[in-house]
Amino acid sequence: MSGSGNQKIIEEFANRAYPYGFVSAVESDSTPPGLDEDIVRTISAKKSEPKFMLDWRLRAYRHWRTLERAAGEPRWANLRYPAIDYDRIVYYSAPKQKVAARLEDVDPEILRTFEKLGIPLDERKRLSGVAVDAVFDSVSVGTTFKEKLGELGIIFCSFSEAVQAHPALVERHLGSVVPYTDNFYASLNSAVFSDGSFCYVPRGVRCPMELSTYFRINSAGSGQFERTLIVAEEGSYVSYLEGCTAPMRDENQLHAAVVELVAAEGAHIKYSTVQNWYAGDREGKGGIFNFVTKRGKCAGARSRISWTQVETGSAITWKYPSVILQGDESVGEFYSVALTNHHQQADTGTKMIHLGKNTRSTILSKGISAGHGSNTYRGLVKVLPRAANARNYTQCDSMLLGSQCAAHTFPYIEVANRSAVVEHEASTRKISDEQLFYCKQRGLSGENAVSMIVNGFCKEIFRNLPMEFAVEASRLLSVSLEGSVG
């Protein structure tokens, strides 16, 4: 096929509309734009937080201010965007209605919003096997299946609720994996985060259902700063899913979240994300700036943390879900599909920090670039001196659709123990004209052919997602690629 015919199919494929771009009419309670100590105190007061929380927030705020005055935002990523004006952001925005005690009391407009997104909060309507915490703008509006989980001693609730009901657990683990000094965005988040999800799985308990948080940005001009903390005690297991959408707006909105995972001896945490924040329009106008710090600590021996992410949204994605392999024989995994279409840019990857003996990590990254998209894999594999027999396998594959897009790979490998085995493989490919012609000769449309080939390219990643999410991810990938075929 002529390159141009090919190109046309890819373009059509990439130009499908974003179906979640609507705005809900919900009154919100917001702080004025800009950030100072008073705003931090206000946020803490609104949430009636204990003193340790306020103190921690203030330390974070002061640290962030010094970073902001000194160098500002980090600029090492392979991303181009105008400087963010931190004085214009609204740091706290919540639906006016107070957090409802019962789901029936939640603002019906919010319930309708989640219904429209395919996330009914009504337990009777839920697919069995998934408990949901829904976060609307900065506040958790409802968590399902709480009682059922409670019987097993599993705590699954909004972060605010955890601060009230389980302050000792929060105080012990908050910042233990991502300290407030970690990086610019993590500091900012620590100062102003308003909600998020909290999950605690006691010793020996296997969580019987998928836990899921659904994040929705609604208000204009507000940033979203949520924080998720998952603690899995000895020998426990939990699978956690996270989904995200936002309305279509012309301005860019900042999303700076922090996720911390703690796995004790023999525990396994599986964390899956389908990120579909609004990506901006075809010309690159609007969209979410997604600066996220996600890190897990395999604190105990034989613990395991698996990150699986499907990143199809956001104008800018800056995100490196990482694992600190502290316990001996612990395992870290990172499976990623990142798709950039139109003018989207992603700089994403992982860090695997091997501290314990016989620790193993696997990194599988699939980047797809279409339109004018730019996709960067950035990953660090670090083996410290006492991490004898550490093992890492990394595979980074890129697929380019069209001729205006870009793919980059920046692997960093630092090995300080001679017994380590670190492997890195990388490939870049295009969908060839011959492949497309072969598919068409069998009766497939160009669009279906591209969708099938791209899905095939990502199959190893989707296999790690819970069934229901895998189907969603595959569909999302096709939608996000619309108008990109060639």
Partner: protein, 253 residues
């Protein structure tokens, strides 16, 4: 079923087909033979609509419709099948999934209901016996890591599943050992029906020991220089192509 008239085609300014005339009726098997570079594969690719080739003049009617007007996927849905000389690998896409999508694209075009997974698997298993293929291949990515012979069998399997009206087999015999050749030929023979037609593009006549063609055409320098019945194939085997190439040069354009 297929009428090719004065077809001229080529790539990027280079003419390869220089006036092809060919008539294929339902129920017939035609063999198109010729030396390397004579335009056999180009003819097959042009009929299937490969975008790398440009048709400069002439016409092709398929069931009375202008075939050249249709994009390749519509030709396929209308029942035209090309068994590729070099089947293409599609990493990550399981063969069964690929074939199911193809079958359903063709069925949709014909106004038939989609086959669900169970119905499709039943069909697939039945057709796999035709070409003696190991079911394990169906979960492997399309043609990836297949041997040459396995790829060719996979082409015939796809033909068996898609049940084309007009099948063009481009050098399906090349690279096959004698056992594989026999299996493939058996499969093709069992797919012969009064309402379909098969065009075999081949360099050698050995495939024709197993599949008896109704007509044999010799292509040379982009034109059909001789047509005849099956005995022509034997004559070619005995005398080589040179005597015909000489004849071609003598033919007025």
């Amino acid at each position: 079923m297929l009428s090719i008239r004065k077809l001229h085609a080529g790539v990027a300014g280079k003419e390869i087909l220089r006036g092809i005339d060919l008539e294929v009726r339902a129920g017939e098997v035609h063999a198109v033979m010729g030396p390397n570079g004579s335009g056999k594969s180009t003819l097959a690719q042009v009929l299937a609509g490969h975008p790398g080739f440009v048709v400069t003049s002439g016409e092709v009617l398929y069931d009375g419709r202008d075939l050249l007007e249709l994009p390749p996927e519509e030709r396929a849905r209308a029942g035209l099948f090309l068994a590729f000389q070099y089947p293409v690998e599609i990493p990550g896409v399981p063969t069964a999934e690929f074939l199911k999508a193809a079958v359903n694209a063709v069925r949709e075009h014909r106004g038939l209901e989609e086959l669900d997974a169970m119905e499709f698997l039943t069909l697939l298993k039945e057709r796999m016996k035709l070409v003696d293929m190991d079911p394990a291949f169906m979960s492997r990515p399309v043609n990836e890591g297949f041997s040459g012979g396995e790829k060719k069998r996979n082409e015939i399997l796809q033909m068996a599943v898609l049940e084309p009206r007009l099948a063009i087999l481009d050098e399906t015999d090349s690279g096959l050992d004698i056992d594989a050749l026999r299996t493939v030929a058996d499969g093709i023979n069992r797919l012969r029906r009064p309402d379909n037609a098969i065009v075999l593009v081949t360099h050698y006549q050995r495939l024709l020991e197993y599949i008896t063609p109704d007509r044999v055409h010799v292509l040379s320098g982009g034109r059909i220089v001789k047509s005849g019945d099956r005995t022509l194939a034997h004559e070619l085997e005995a005398r080589g192509y040179e005597w015909l190439e000489t004849a071609a040069e003598a033919t007025p354009r």
